[in-house]
């Protein structure tokens, strides 16, 4: 059971993504023995087409098109079954995908609240009203800081891309996780919102004792406290 893991380090063992077979890669993550240490923060920087999203896809278990082995803790995730993948995705890593993957039919609040319901669906105990109320207050506080609190009850499709990005970040934060995996999460945010969001992310990761992997296009938004890796 994933919940009993002690070590949540992520190791890329000789991983070569099939689509990147003929791309010239710096040998630090791919085709190497590279480990993301559990609880540490990483910033991946690379121009487009160099495999940032591939890393995210491999870690979150949405892409299997690679050679080599992926270890989560001591376990080879290439041999994960359905159950382990869904455990890893719901308890191990929480992600902001580049295409955000928000549900257009739900309101912003409902999208942010959803992970709680997903984690509860597995433990089959209903979420109590007081829990919902507490979470509502927490979400409201985050949304206030990111200046989207007046959008919370609006359906997602009415929001701008930048607002959607903030909703997606909050959705990733609103749950338990061992890793935060974020694929260019600030691409449509101004500097002020980026720094507020970064603070939120760091605070939440600290309180959950979790690691972070953030990808970005260029090296001008270097973040302090993050280990820098260029692909």
């Amino acid at each position: 059971m994933l919940k009993n893991y002690k070590d949540f380090s992520i190791r890329f063992d000789k991983i070569i993504p099939k689509p990147l077979n003929d791309v010239q890669l710096e040998d630090n993550i791919f085709n190497n023995d590279f480990t993301f240490e559990s609880g540490k923060w990483y910033q991946l920087i690379a121009p487009s087409g160099k495999g940032k999203s591939t890393v995210v896809g491999i870690i979150t278990g949405t892409r299997g098109d690679f050679h080599g082995d992926l270890f989560i803790g001591e376990i080879n995730a290439v041999k994960f079954k359905y159950k382990q993948w869904s455990e890893w995705r719901s308890y191990g890593c929480s992600a902001v995908f580049q295409d955000l993957l928000l549900f257009p039919q739900l309101s912003a609040f409902e999208n942010i609240f959803l992970p709680l319901e997903i984690q509860n669906a597995d433990s089959s105990k209903r979420i109590s009203n007081s829990e919902i109320e507490l979470n509502r207050i927490k979400i409201k506080g985050w949304a206030d800081k990111l200046d989207i609190s007046n959008k919370l009850d609006q359906p997602i499709f009415k929001l701008s891309h930048g607002q959607m990005q903030r909703v997606a970040i909050l959705r990733a934060l609103n749950r338990k996780f061992k890793w935060l995996i974020m694929d260019e999460p600030f691409s449509h945010l101004d500097e002020l919102n980026t720094s507020i969001a970064t603070d939120l992310i760091i605070n939440e990761a600290k309180s959950q004792n979790a690691g972070i992997i953030i990808t970005s296009l260029n090296s001008k938004d270097l973040m302090s406290g993050f280990e820098l890796i260029t692909i």
């Binding site: 098109d65 995705r89 993957l101 959803l114 997903i118 984690q119």
Partner: protein, 404 residues
Amino acid sequence: MNLISKILYRTQKISQLTSAIFGVFLGFLLILTSSQIFTDFKNIIHDSEQAIGSQFLVINKKISLLNTFNIGNSSFTESEIKEIKSNPCFKKVGKFTANKFEAQASIQFPIENTYTEIRTDLFLESVDDDFLDIKPKDWQWNIKDDEIPIILPNDFINLYNFNYAPGRGLPQISKSTIKMANFKIEIRGIGGNSFYRGKIVGFSNRITSVLVPYSFMEYANKIYGLNQNNNESLRIIVEAKNNELSNVQNYIDKHGYEANSELLKNGKFANLLQAILSIIAFFGVIMIVISVNSLILYIQLSITRSKFEIETLLKLGFSHHKIIQWYAYKIAFILALVYSINVIVLVFIKSKTNELIGTFGFEAPNQLNVYVLLSSFLILMIVWCFQIIAVYRQIFKLALPNKE
């Protein structure tokens, strides 16, 4: 607030769903109704107390002009009876034994201070007790008895009550009154004559003869009989298998016999009905196959339409089991709805067909057949499993890392 349902419901197309459900509903209704009606009729046919179900036939040879001039022989020979016995259509064959003596019945009743006597010749017959449709408790005779139990044909008493008596201004007589009447029976023959009391103990629908117990017939024929060596039977009675009634008809036609063909018509009717209902049930099966298929297609389509939703839920860590469960519950709900509405409609249809059957004088059981209900439930469960397998296959494809 169930967000999962809110997410997955978005892609449902109500019009497509209802037409798929309606198809399943109709197919099921066809199968249920036809099998219910079929079992009802089977009950009726198998219930030997009811006329349509009586498998007993009285067979005689056709009377032609030759018989009138006393040239042809209309009695059954031993070999003919043996042949009938060996035919698999028939379970039992019995001979009628007629009286070889003279018999007269007389009854006296008071009209205006004097006794009026009615006298009539009697034609008595006996048949093995197994072939009787009634078993009155007084139906036995031994040598010491001076009272002979008699079974009259129902037609006989009806003929009197509804044709003869009204025309003559005579009173109609109920069956219980007749049973109370005592009349004298005089028997004459080679061995002289003697008097008995006759007592009517019952009325037969099956056999149109005045019946006396075989023990009496045997005794009286021996003592008074005129033509001792003649053991011919002019009529025989057979018990035919229900499902062979059309073969029985063929057999009878082929050999130039005659039977009380009303029963055979009923048998033919039952066969025809069975055939029609089988055809309806067959189309019901085809319809179910098609409509269940369309329901599966609908669900596959809706999963395909929900691909983004399902993939995203999976990426967020929602377990594929829960998604499959969600679909399984919805399908179970749909099928349970179809089943219960079907049962309600079936109860309605059944009450109507029972009325219809009732107007023909038959009685079908009031409650639905348990086996029909159980087997249709079983079919629905199988359908459900098929649906779930279809859902499984699709969702599993989405649940693992994409290797392409």
